[in-house]
């Protein structure tokens, strides 16, 4: 259950992933592999299947294809405890009477049975997770007392307390201001440097280019995968978004 990989292959491997909703094909034949410590941006227009892809990887929707974490084939949700998923605008009631500390402790549930109480080791892990996302001292706060960026970091802390090797964040950078975005990216970068793999769905192509080590383009299927410089080219952007011209000045504007 340690966050340290025991396998020699990639940390997360997705092969032939597909999702159908009734007669609609939401996602088709997506394959990629991600290594430890990668900071990956997933790009694509609205309705491209980014959220569907995250949900399929986490086993939240029925899917075709194979998901492997640390070389282990995932059959159901319990095989995926090494993954943490932070949904887009998640539908959690922020007025629910739960403190930041209790939120982060939810990640520790993985390490005990339902009848067991949390241990002092659990509390230490939760505190250390809060410290890593720079939220020390907030454990007793209510969720409504956090700003949007702080809340996102609290969810990341929960993923860290879960000792997840891979954290999937859907639109984590939407609806937050520029300083918060940069603050979140700093946290993601430092976690990636420590070996956690971070995969973020984002609409901000300029950030994807500058602040991520890898870019995956999705629209119904995989449209591009590689270094941001390669993926954010006019060919891939055309295939992903229909036209690269939506970026004022064309894709060249994404260059540093």
């Amino acid at each position: 259950m340690s966050a340290v990989s025991t396998g020699t292959g990639p940390l997360l491997e997705v092969d032939g992933l597909g999702v159908h909703y009734a007669a609609t094909v939401a996602l088709h034949d997506v394959s990629f592999a991600v290594d430890r410590g990668e900071l990956v941006a997933v790009i694509g227009p609205n309705g491209a299947g980014k959220s569907t892809m995250f949900k399929a990887i986490c086993g939240l929707v029925n899917h075709q294809g194979v998901v492997e974490v640390n070389g282990v084939h995932c059959h159901d949700r319990t095989d995926r405890m090494d993954l943490a998923y932070i949904p887009q605008r998640n539908d959690n009631d922020l007025h629910f009477p739960i403190t930041v500390g209790e939120l982060v402790m939810a990640g520790r549930r993985r390490f005990r049975h339902w009848w067991q109480r949390s241990s002092s080791a659990d509390r230490a892990a939760a505190e250390s997770a809060l410290a890593r996302v720079r939220l020390s001292g907030t454990a007793d706060r209510a969720l409504t007392e956090l700003s949007g960026g702080q809340l996102q970091r609290a969810y990341v802390a929960r993923a860290l307390a879960q000792e997840a090797s891979v954290v999937l964040l859907d639109e984590a950078l939407s609806g937050v201001d520029q300083p918060t975005t940069l603050e979140l990216l700093d946290v993601f970068r430092s976690l990636a440097d420590e070996g956690t793999t971070i995969i973020v769905a984002t609409h901000d192509l300029a950030l994807a280019r500058r602040r991520f080590s890898r870019c995956i383009a999705v629209n119904g299927t995989l449209r591009g995968d590689g270094a941001p410089g390669e993926v954010l080219s006019s060919d891939v952007l055309d295939a992903t978004f229909g036209s690269a011209s939506f970026v004022s000045g064309g894709p060249d504007a994404l260059a540093d």
Binding site: C58, L60, R77, T78, R80, M81, L83, A84, Y85, P87, N90, N92, D93, F96, P97, I98, T99, E102, L103, A106, G107, R109, R110, W114, W115, R117, S118, T138, R141, A142, T144, E145, L146, S147, Q150, R158, Q162
Partner: protein
């Protein structure tokens, strides 16, 4: 002081007092989760629908407790079956099932009884509670409170974020199933005290009142119990002096408690203060 103690000179009022206290503790403990999970509708439908089991058991001369629990189980299963239909919202399915079961109960009881017993089931008959009823309610109530205490952590995880909860090993659907069965237990306990119709009041109103004040889950549960017991006993005393129906009087006192707390906390809630940390 006599105004408070006089009603309990007679033994039937002492039994009524104990029955009211048990309802006042157990219903809010379960109700806290009903309110937090926004299941008040389900609680309402379950309590009404339980009449089907009660009626069938009564007509057959069997235990109404077993009948009530059976109806709760059948409703829970049917709810799972029908809520798979995406064209209908779950609240629609809940309303259809609840009213159907309620109607079935009324039809069955009205064929064997002129209406007295139906009124007792609907509005309780706390003044005729027997010691056997008291012991049964105590046993069921203790089991329900213990179940909530044991599942407290799981309920918290499953209620706040069921997606993450499942990911870290919580059996979310099982937790939900247990809670639905606890609803049926609360209805059974309420049957003799406040009645089926007023069971929802004790389930939802004290917990909703506590929700307005509490910061933490523990606080909310304890406050809900404090409101529940005070309102159940207060309503009983008031009904003695007014000569009014005990179940409905308890319901009114509970609603009054909610109204007062709602009014007092209004200034605090009006300007939404989301204070970001410095």
């Amino acid at each position: 002081m006599h105004w408070l103690t006089d009603p309990f000179q007679a033994e039937f009022m002492q039994r009524a007092f104990i029955a009211a206290v048990i309802t006042g503790v157990v219903a809010p403990v379960v109700g806290t989760w009903v309110v937090l999970r926004r299941m008040a509708n389900l609680g309402d439908a379950m309590s009404h629908g339980t009449l089907a089991g009660v009626g069938i058991a009564y007509a057959a001369g069997a235990s109404v407790v077993v009948g009530a629990l059976g109806a709760g189980l059948v409703m829970a299963v049917l709810l799972l079956v029908f809520s798979g239909n995406r064209r209908l919202g779950q609240e629609t399915v809940i309303a259809v099932l609840g009213t159907a079961f309620f109607a079935l109960g009324v039809v069955v009881i009205s064929r064997v009884d002129a209406g007295v017993e139906l009124t007792h089931f609907l509005f309780g008959r706390v003044l005729t509670v027997t010691w056997a009823d008291v012991w049964l309610n105590l046993a069921l109530g203790t089991a329900a409170v213990l179940a909530v205490a044991l599942l407290f952590g799981e309920l918290r995880l499953a209620t706040f974020d069921h997606v993450q909860a499942e990911q870290v090993g919580v059996r979310v659907e099982l937790v939900q199933g247990v809670l639905v069965m606890l609803l049926a237990v609360v209805v059974v306990i309420s049957l003799r005290s406040v009645g089926i119709v007023m069971a929802v009041t004790m389930l939802v109103t004290p917990a909703a009142t506590a929700r307005l004040l509490a910061r933490t889950l523990r606080q909310m549960t304890l406050l809900a119990v404090a409101f529940g017991v005070t309102e159940a006993v207060g309503g009983l005393i008031l009904s003695y002096h007014l000569g009014s129906a005990p179940g409905a009087t308890i319901g009114l006192v509970s609603a009054a408690g909610f109204a007062v707390v709602f009014g007092l906390t209004l200034p605090r809630r009006m300007p939404h203060h989301h204070r970001p940390l410095a």
